[in-house]
Symmetry: D2
Subunit: 100 residues, 4 copies
């Protein structure tokens, strides 16, 4: 299991808003059944690394079209093998350290 952060940015869209594209990417992601969390800068996905990367490829691909000819996608993969890595587990570890 890996935890992966992704941000998909359409380039040359003629408007500063990209929420329409983010919403469309999330619809695509939801179709994969993978567990995810949206935050104000990215979407964090948890699961088998290969499945997560397939999902990200679909999100990236789905952003082309309707005037969008260029897409820049940033991905950060956090992959740990000595213990199971989950979104909830990562947050809990930090909260426990802070005594909260």
């Amino acid at each position: 299991m890996a935890v992966v952060q992704v941000t998909v940015v359409p380039v040359g869209s003629s408007k500063a808003s990209i929420s329409e594209h983010v919403a469309h990417c999330l619809d695509v992601l939801e179709g994969t059944g993978l567990k995810y969390q949206l935050n104000p800068m990215s979407t964090v996905i948890e699961g088998d690394l290969r499945e997560v990367m397939e999902a990200i490829a679909k999100m990236h691909e789905s952003t082309f079209g309707e005037g969008i000819d260029r897409v820049i996608t940033a991905v950060a993969i956090d992959d740990r093998r000595d213990k199971e890595l989950t979104m909830d587990g990562k947050l809990a570890a930090v909260r426990e350290r802070r005594g909260k």
Copy 2:
């Protein structure tokens, strides 16, 4: 106002866990009074861009010491001038598009 995502990673720490360092960075960030949200891959901060970048410099700096001689910090700045950009506003725009 900008919305900025930051991830601070200590290198050469001799253990796979980094939650102790993330917790320490959040203590430093909390001292600045800036609004922020922790997620499983990064911390998202909102505010005047210069103040946010000062806070990130402090978080980065505070990670050195106690055996840590190298720190890799990733930052993504989202800065919009035609309307006010906030963490809540960004999430609300996506949710509205998805009809949720």
Copy 3:
């Protein structure tokens, strides 16, 4: 064709140097036959997006082992469909703009 930037960072390696791991990743990448350029912060790879992502998965995977239980990999994909995107073409476009 896409142009993709990748940085693979081992966590908990007990030493600040990671050049050994970068060198190993480049050996793995060279085995794929894809065109690439190393720079001081990342490796830039050019090619069919699916093939490039397969190569990055191999680079990431090859970093585990010999005491490394956690790997953080950052990827930035630049994918353009209205004209062919290449590493040389991108650099040439910027140089031409600067009159150099």
Copy 4:
């Protein structure tokens, strides 16, 4: 001394090409006198971390205007304190490991 990677992306530019903006950012960076290298995905800058971050703030700021109301800037800071970190030194360490 730190080595820092930066990519500045204008959003809503109405055209897929961004080389004009990259060229302008490099002109701004050249004005700072800092040592840098352009690659197909980013610009890598070497120097005192505070000076480099000031330069990046200028590059980011200079991208607004002439129809650009939103700029997304990605930064990766590599900062090492047990030995001097330079762009050339990082590349040499990897090349030496690979026996080239």
